[in-house]
Each structure stands twice: as structure tokens, then as C-alpha cells.
């Protein structure tokens, strides 16, 4: 019963944050809306017994990634002028068309879900240690060790890429 209430509060907040991401004009407000969505998703992860991922969602996403975004926003948007008028004219129906395509996509996804009959109930209470940080670590360092090692390569590539891109151009 309590989990249902928590789900609805978190779900509504997540959707409010998402709408904020696509409607706010100021990039700082956009970033803060995204943080609201991510915190709500962290709560939903906890409801789904994904303890480690809930922590990672808040620390890495709402923390590190969004701080990076805010750095760049303050760096780039400092001396920026408002959008030009002819741009507004040229792309008058952009939002409308985007909304239309979004609606079509949503109907298609919903249709697929109903067709696959996924609106059933959850499989009983989480089987014992499912989703605990211990079981996550066991899975990560035994069966899924290779993917875990590969993330190190991905992060190394990201670091090298940023260093190369961030150099002063000659």
C-alpha cells in the first residue's frame, strides 16, 4: 500500500521534471528539472529493489553529470544573446511537429506493451537477497567481470577524448 503511494508521488514528480526539461527556457532551470527527474527515478529504483543503482543514479547522474552540465552552462551562456527573430519564423511549426511525432511514438510503444501483455502484476516479494548491494557486487565481479573491465576502457577513451578536444587549437 505504502509502496503504491510512493510510486505515484515519484512518478508524478518524474513527469513534472521531464516536462520542465522540454519547456524551460533558461538552461539552468532545465538542468534543475532534470535533477528532479533523476531523484524521482532513484526512488523508483529503490522500490524495484535496485539499491546500488539508486545510489549510483543520485551520485553519478544527479551529482557528477549535472555538475558537469552546469559548468558548461555557466561557461557558454554567460554572454549569449537572445534568439534571433528570423529563426523563430523559420521554425514556427518545429515544436508542433515534434509533439506530433512524440505522440505517434508513444502510441506505438503503448500498443507494443499491450500486445505483449506486460501489464501483469509484479513477481512476488523480491526473492531474498535479490537487488541487494552484495548480490549486485557478486554478479558484477563473477559472471559479468568482462563487461565491468570494458567500462574501464570506455572511461579511458572518454578521458583521452576530452583531453584531445579541450586542447588549445593551433
Amino acid at each position: 500500500m505504502l509502496s503504491t503511494v510512493v510510486f505515484w508521488i515519484a512518478a508524478v514528480l518524474a513527469v513534472v521534471g521531464a516536462l520542465g526539461v522540454v519547456t524551460t527556457r533558461n538552461p539552468v532551470h532545465t538542468a534543475l528539472s532534470l535533477v528532479l527527474t533523476m531523484l524521482s527515478l532513484g526512488v523508483l529504483f529503490l522500490l524495484l529493489h535496485a539499491e546500488f543503482l539508486a545510489v549510483v543514479e543520485v551520485l553519478v547522474y544527479a551529482g557528477a553529470v549535472m555538475v558537469l552540465f552546469l559548468f558548461v552552462v555557466t561557461l557558454l551562456m554567460a554572454g549569449v544573446k537572445p534568439p534571433r527573430e528570423e529563426h523563430r519564423m523559420r521554425l514556427a511549426y518545429q515544436t508542433l511537429i515534434a509533439g506530433l511525432f512524440g505522440l505517434i511514438l508513444f502510441v506505438l510503444v503503448l500498443h507494443a506493451m499491450v500486445g505483449a501483455n506486460w501489464v501483469s502484476t509484479l513477481a512476488g516479494p523480491g526473492g531474498g537477497t535479490f537487488g541487494s548491494i552484495a548480490s549486485f557486487g557478486t554478479a558484477l565481479f563473477t559472471r559479468y567481470l568482462l563487461p565491468f573491465e570494458l567500462t574501464a576502457v570506455v572511461l579511458l577513451v572518454a578521458v583521452i577524448g576530452v583531453v584531445v578536444l579541450g586542447r588549445e587549437q593551433e
Partner: protein, 100 residues
């Protein structure tokens, strides 16, 4: 307990809102944040199915997605800073170099 379908529908809603954001925003930073929203929506689907089938593979996959997303953000923001550092407007419509 909340049925898994609720999580999936919520995930679809967030994904579609993110997609509309990518199509309708003209500030590259805001487009990028919409992409992040879409990553998060997909993560919610993975976690919901992991709970449904009591399988940790979904959690591992979300872990990988978060790592890749962090790398993508770092490189993407570096590119955005590089491209827009010397421009008056931060607007993706200004990037028309390859227009025929």
C-alpha cells in the same frame, strides 16, 4: 505492489518527452539534457524487467549504460564547448557548414 506495466508506461512517457525535447530544442545543451532523459527512461525499463524476472543482468546493464552515458556527456560537452566557444548565439541552427 505496483504492476510492472505502470513502470513501463512511465518509462515510455519519459522517453517520448525526452525525444520531443531533442526535436524541439535549439540550444545544444538542452538537447543534450533531453538525451539524458531518454537514457534514464531506458534505465527504468531495464530495472523494472530485472525486478520482474528477478535477474541481476538488468542491473549490470544499467550500470554499463550509466558508464557510457557519463563518457558520452564528457565528450559531448567538450565538443559543444569547442564548437560554440567563439560564437554569439548558442544555437544548433548555426551549424550549417555541411549544408549543400
Amino acid at each position: 505492489m505496483v504492476p510492472i506495466g505502470y513502470y513501463l508506461v512511465l518509462s515510455a512517457v519519459l522517453f517520448v518527452i525526452g525525444g520531443v525535447g531533442v526535436l524541439s530544442r535549439r540550444n545544444p545543451l538542452q538537447m543534450f539534457m533531453s538525451v539524458e532523459l531518454m537514457w534514464n527512461a531506458v534505465n527504468l525499463t531495464f530495472v523494472a524487467f530485472a525486478r520482474q524476472y528477478l535477474n541481476m543482468a538488468g542491473h549490470i546493464f544499467v550500470f554499463l549504460v550509466i558508464t557510457v552515458a557519463a563518457a558520452e556527456v564528457a565528450i559531448g560537452l567538450a565538443i559543444i564547448v569547442m564548437v560554440f566557444r567563439k560564437r554569439e548565439h548558442v544555437d544548433v541552427d548555426d551549424l550549417s557548414l555541411m549544408k549543400g
